[in-house]
Symmetry: C2
Subunit: 321 residues, 2 copies
């Protein structure tokens, strides 16, 4: 997609233009490092596209786009500590490359840097942008806490799981889009519709992630197939399996949790999932949110076409199929 | 001081009125716990007193006062992790009572809660309040990083040390006061004068802390005398001692670092400090900043008297002498 590439170029250029102070070097080197690790830059792209709907140039929406991207990176640095993740985008995480204290503190600074971007917009827009950003930031933290709480629980329902991913990842997409709408000074209806588009697109996207882990093309997914199953990770798949399993299937799934033979663990889990139509059930749930997102987008009344946003949504859902 | 007590009552009442959400309980219980551990509430008091100079009621300045207090508590929760501190105000720290992940994340939420308070002010004040708050938050993080960096350095100068305490603790006092001035919609000169008052008062206060550790009345200081010396902590005292020591005295101080007999360590260190006039040198430095602060305060042109603020400054400097 040519359009995506041109947005990515703009965004990368903006990120490269950041000049973090030289000192204290242990505070700012991690940020220089982490901000240039790459990524799809999907969130800032959503803000720019949303602003464009209402006649705003990329330049006019760029600071809010950066606020969202900086916040996203802040949350990754802190989440990586909590998840004890050694790698992010195939490179060492900040707490691995430096240490946990530096990761906490440089994350905190990055969070403020996000708020600094909001300050760059015209004064009359700042209260609305700030209120939305605060609400979203708190929800993302709540989602991360739910995710951590779920690790030690065995009774997580599909509804709770979807609420967790909504908070942890989807509300930030909604926020990115609504910020473009705020900058575009459009109606409350348009703001809400764009938020809902991002929110449900995010949920669908996360369910797709869960599905791809087990059913994706290994050449395209770029990571070990079934990694979530092997790590006994809670996903919509495993939660729905527990929901619909018979007592016998439940016991079998329970025994498989401690199975050390990876091939056996994967194939037997897949057999049970197949009997329970887990793939189809997840696809249905994903489709439901995807359709909801696209319907919300279709209601937007804008000067410019929604084609870019629907093309982006479409692109995201044909990544690895 | 009667006035102080009435401000404290107002502030504690406001803090008690916070209603953090019930769920996720592991995110909000630590905040309910930490915010009611007490403390002098000096920072929000400065905001209220500053607003009052320009005719603003405590109610009108309260949200900014809370923003500063919430931010201060956020930074304590994260600093306690970094310093591996088991206790805060004689109670378990958040990472001790819960765990490090919960302390990171509940700290993050508290940070956003501070920004939410800023949003409560009239829209036309928000951009200025936000810009000042962002600048201050970044400086506090920079100060904390410098403090951590100093731990492994042996060549920290008095100038660097004072810059570190200025960033880590004093700029937030300046911010608290300037926020009151912003709410009071006063002149740039008054804003700057109140900021300078807080900034230099904070530096003087921190030097006083260093002094009290070794020269304070043990009954009034409320902690072990000489704790900083025994822990080989860098303070203005130890830094000035290294600056002015002869080669012989330097060697003696070096040997004392690993002295295990506490009484011997303290008395011999004190003898060297006395020969080098360390107490007097620190008092001079403290007095310089205190006088600078009071002179800045005296330049403020306000509707109401600066007496409350000068009384507070005076009170802070006669705590334990």
């Amino acid at each position: 997609m040519n359009t995506l590439a041109s947005y990515t170029t703009l965004i990368e250029k903006e990120i490269e233009s950041f000049s973090f102070p030289q000192s204290p070097v242990n505070l700012y080197d991690p940020l220089r490092y982490f901000m240039t690790l790459g990524g799809k830059r999907m969130r800032p792209m959503l803000t720019l596209m949303s602003g464009k709907l209402f006649g705003k140039t990329s330049e006019e929406s760029m600071s809010a786009a950066m606020a969202v991207e900086l916040f996203h990176n802040f949350s990754l640095i802190h989440d990586d500590i909590m998840d004890e993740a050694p790698l992010r985008r195939a490179k060492a995480t900040v707490h691995e490359k430096w240490n946990t204290n530096i990761a906490i503190l440089s994350g905190d600074v990055l969070f403020v840097k996000a708020y600094e971007q909001i300050c760059k917009h015209p004064a009359h827009l700042i209260p609305s942008l700030l209120a939305l950003f605060n609400k979203t930031a708190i929800e993302v933290c709540e989602g991360q806490q739910m995710d951590m709480d779920f690790e030690t629980r065995n009774d997580v329902s599909a509804k709770e799981y979807i609420e967790m991913i909504r908070l942890k990842t989807s509300v930030l997409l909604g926020c990115a889009l609504e910020m473009g709408a705020i900058i575009g000074e459009t109606t409350a209806e348009n703001r809400q519709a764009l938020y809902a588009f991002g929110e449900h697109l995010g949920i669908a996207f996360q369910i797709q992630d869960d599905l791809l882990d087990l059913y994706g093309d290994p050449d395209k997914v770029g990571k070990q197939v079934g990694g979530d199953v092997l790590a006994n990770k809670k996903t919509l798949l495993s939660i729905l399996a527990k929901t619909y399993a018979s007592t016998e299937q439940l016991n079998a799934l329970d025994v498989l949790q401690s199975e050390v033979n990876a091939d056996k663990k994967l194939s037997e889990t897949k057999t049970i999932f197949e009997a329970l139509q887990i793939q189809q059930r997840c696809q249905e749930e994903m489709r439901k949110h995807y359709d909801f997102a696209m319907n919300a987008l279709a209601t937007v009344q804008a000067n410019n076409s929604i084609d870019e946003l629907s093309a982006l949504a479409n692109y995201l859902f044909h990544r690895e199929y």
